[in-house]
């Protein structure tokens, strides 16, 4: 049987030994939670177990001494560091399970639960669990956006919509300090993974077909921006993103220094994470499959799957394994591998009608409806994010498509210019998404597609955590688009996503 990782051994042996001896490979000593300022060494390869297998995080040029490193040191008054919400065990994101674990272990005293954004609202009693329910139950961090929107890509913006608060269950969108009247809108979103960044920064084509312009230029280096960093695309490059995070999530009183920015950017570009071993089928780079973080590290980013390497074809080798290799697997292992390979095909080939989805059916010109598959949007080889800037409204945050949530604020958006192409003049939304950045009513509800790597380590899913597990992701798409997946296809997709 050959289920152990193969390509992983390209990392220096000493680094691997360090990772294993550090106990991170499924062990709890040192703890899987990376607390700020611990001064641990981040190995070149670091494995963590999750319910579907083993996630591996590679740090190119590692190991990295984190002592004094701005990603790992507390920089603000709340004692948080970047790593607080971007944990190696959680694919450099944060799972709700990890948040719950930290609450239980620290009785809610961990800096993760800082009042500013680790609670439903700073005005709530911070010692009570229910004041942090959005973070604990759905992994959501409060994001405070200015209102009215003032600028996008350096250009002044006058929003072509008004916004009112229909419901404010947490108190952070009303009262003297919060809400549109106070110039602040609170939305709640999942932290996005800080890894595999070269893919999120990659630019495939010179145009943003969803916005109808050439790509905006980076204010720092003058190059076209990918538009794929943040849920609402409010930061087009890593500098702007890290400054935004430092000022808000870290509550830094001073600006990041140039040296800190350089260290952060250097680190973020060196981290790659993905599932390395699946519980069901073994190593994802064995038996003819070519997945895993080393492949991500070594591949060119930004390729469009439809004209290059098809998305998730890394698992093609598992479609029909050589008899001698298959004979070395248990029937269950073989079945899992075949299921993952089928899932990749379903992802690419199962066609359905995509309807009333801004960013796809409007304004780009594909038509409404348009027949296509998951890879229509999840089109980048190796990563499954969008090669073009990925602002699309799947309806996950906006009625009538979004699931009902009593604990999220609900906003009424009224278009003052042209109506929204699908919702009309009035829109009810939990999170206006990209609309809060561009100021355009047509962009309300659009959320940037994100990486699909390391999903097993970072439930729940979608920007507002509406899918508690991978099956929930498939079920949402089925509800939204009436795709008609068979039970087998649903399971195949779940197995595929669990292996990414």
């Amino acid at each position: 049987m050959h289920l152990l990782p193969q390509k992983s051994f390209v990392v220096p042996l000493a680094a691997l030994i360090l990772a294993v001896s550090g106990g991170a490979r499924g062990g709890e000593t040192p703890d899987r939670w990376w607390a700020p300022g611990e001064g641990r060494v981040l190995p070149a390869a670091l494995d963590y177990a999750n319910e579907n297998g083993t996630l591996r995080t590679l740090t190119v040029g590692g190991p990295l001494d984190t002592a004094g490193h701005p990603f790992f040191e507390p920089l603000g008054k709340d004692g948080r560091a970047c790593v607080t919400c971007h944990q190696p065990a959680d694919a450099m994101s944060l799972s709700a399970a990890s948040a719950q674990r930290q609450w239980d272990r620290t009785d809610g005293k961990d800096p993760l639960f800082a009042a500013y954004d680790g609670s439903n609202c700073p005005t709530l009693p911070q010692d009570k669990r229910e004041s942090h329910s959005l973070l604990l139950d759905r992994g959501l961090i409060r994001i405070e956006r200015p209102w009215p929107t003032k600028s996008f890509n350096g250009k002044p913006v006058k929003p072509d919509f008004t916004i009112e608060v229909v419901r404010d269950p947490n108190g952070c969108n009303s009262g003297p300090q919060y809400g549109p009247q106070a110039g602040k809108i609170s939305v709640y979103r999942r932290p996005r993974p800080v890894a595999n960044m070269k893919y999120l920064l990659a630019v495939g084509f010179p145009f943003d077909p969803k916005q109808g312009y050439a790509l905006p230029l980076d204010p720092d280096d003058g190059k076209p921006q990918s538009g794929n960093l943040m849920a609402d695309n409010r930061a087009g490059n890593l500098r702007i993103q890290m400054e935004d995070a430092a000022n808000t999530h870290l509550q830094m009183l001073k600006a990041l220094t140039a040296a800190q920015r350089q260290q952060l950017q250097d680190f973020e570009l060196r981290v790659f994470t993905a599932m390395q071993v699946t519980n069901g089928g073994g190593a994802v780079d064995s038996g003819g499959a070519k997945a895993g973080p080393a492949r991500l590290r070594d591949s060119e980013p930004g390729a469009l799957g439809s004209i290059g390497e098809p998305v998730w074809s890394e698992f093609k080798g598992w479609e029909k394994m050589p008899a001698d290799e298959a004979a070395m697997l248990t029937p269950e292992q073989l079945a899992f591998r075949q299921s993952v390979a089928r899932g990749a095909r379903v992802f690419r080939e199962k066609m359905f009608l995509i309807t009333d989805t801004a960013g796809i059916n409007s304004r780009i010109g594909f038509g409404n409806p348009v027949r296509n598959s998951c890879v229509f949007c999840h089109n980048m080889s190796q990563m499954g994010n969008d090669v073009a800037p990925g602002q699309v409204d799947l309806g996950t945050t906006t009625l009538p498509f979004a699931d009902p949530w009593q604990d999220l604020p609900l906003f009424r958006v009224t278009c003052t210019g042209r109506p929204h192409p699908h919702y009309g003049k009035v829109i009810y939304t939990y999170d206006p998404g990209f609309g809060l950045t561009s100021g355009k009513c047509a962009d309300v509800g659009k959320i940037t597609l994100q990486s699909m790597r390391g999903l097993s380590a970072r439930a729940p899913y979608f920007s507002n955590g509406l899918a508690k597990d991978l099956r929930g992701v498939v079920d949402y798409y089925e509800r939204r688009y009436s795709i008609g997946y068979s039970e087998q296809e649903k399971q195949d997709l779940v197995n595929l996503m669990s292996a990414l």
Binding site: F205, F207, L217, P224, G302, N368, P369, V370, R371
Partner: protein
């Protein structure tokens, strides 16, 4: 078999009718019909009924496809290709523009029609990783038109991006002193299918500014001026595909030395 034979007879009849119409421009407003054919990605058919003639046309080849919730302005010419994969004679070249007139959405089944397997259109751009060949000179003053939907300033995917990519490749090689972008609007009112149509005068400026912003991003550092004009007249530029209305709805990028 009976069904196939019937379809064949229907196709033959409608093909003959379409052949008679070849060469005549058609223009009408209607609610689109989506035929749910499945020959893979992007293979659904768009149909549009000309209420004045009763003719149902296949308008799928428009670079900008309809939205089943809104009326479309159809402009085109009957195709020289007699094939009817969507069950109706095709307009090709054809343009469909989404109008702000609500429609009852209507989808019909494939009814045995195959639709069209998607192929990349002629006007598609390569990735940035693919070097563009340097276009030959002479590098003298030259104008590059870009075309739009009715009353819109939105760059049409796999049409305008291709036109602009070609223009930018030439401009980067030619290194003109500046660009002058002129937006045009077809503001003269016309009644089509009982609907009075005229582009807003301000869309001329919107088109100029959209293209100017795009050029500033693609050729940073090059001066870009904007102008705009109403009452646009048709041109004979081949990239408007011989559709006079399309040629009116344009912006022009003029490279000045």
């Amino acid at each position: 078999m009976k069904r196939l034979a019937l379809l064949g007879a229907l196709c033959a009849a409608t093909t003959a009718q379409a052949a008679q119409d070849t060469g005549a421009l058609v223009r009408f407003v209607t609610c689109p019909v989506y035929r749910d054919t499945d020959a893979g990605r992007k293979s659904g058919c768009w149909l549009a009924d000309d209420r004045d003639t009763g003719q149902r046309w296949d308008v799928t080849e428009s670079p900008y496809k309809p939205d089943w919730n809104f009326a479309v302005l159809v402009e085109g010419r009957p195709s020289a290709n007699a094939a009817q994969p969507c069950g109706s004679p095709a307009l090709d070249p054809v343009r469909t523009s989404r109008l702000d007139i609500p429609c009852t959405r209507h989808m019909i089944p494939a009814e045995g029609f195959p639709g069209r397997r998607y192929t990349l259109p002629r006007r598609n751009i390569g990735p940035l990783s693919v070097a563009r060949p340097v276009p030959p000179g002479p590098y003298v003053a030259r104008t590059f038109p870009v075309y739009f939907e009715f009353d819109k300033d939105f760059l049409v995917y796999q049409y305008d991006d291709w036109l602009i990519d070609n223009a930018v490749t030439w401009i980067r090689a030619a290194r003109p002193k500046k660009l002058v972008v002129t937006g045009y609007a077809a503001t003269a009112p016309e009644t089509v299918s009982g609907v009075k149509l005229a582009e807003r005068p301000e869309v001329a400026k919107e088109r100029a500014e959209t293209i100017a912003e795009t050029m500033r991003r693609l050729v940073p550092g090059l001066a870009v001026e904007t102008k705009w004009k109403t009452a646009a007249k048709p041109t004979d530029d081949p990239e408007a595909d011989g559709l006079p209305w399309q040629s009116q709805r344009r912006a022009e990028i003029r490279a000045v030395f």
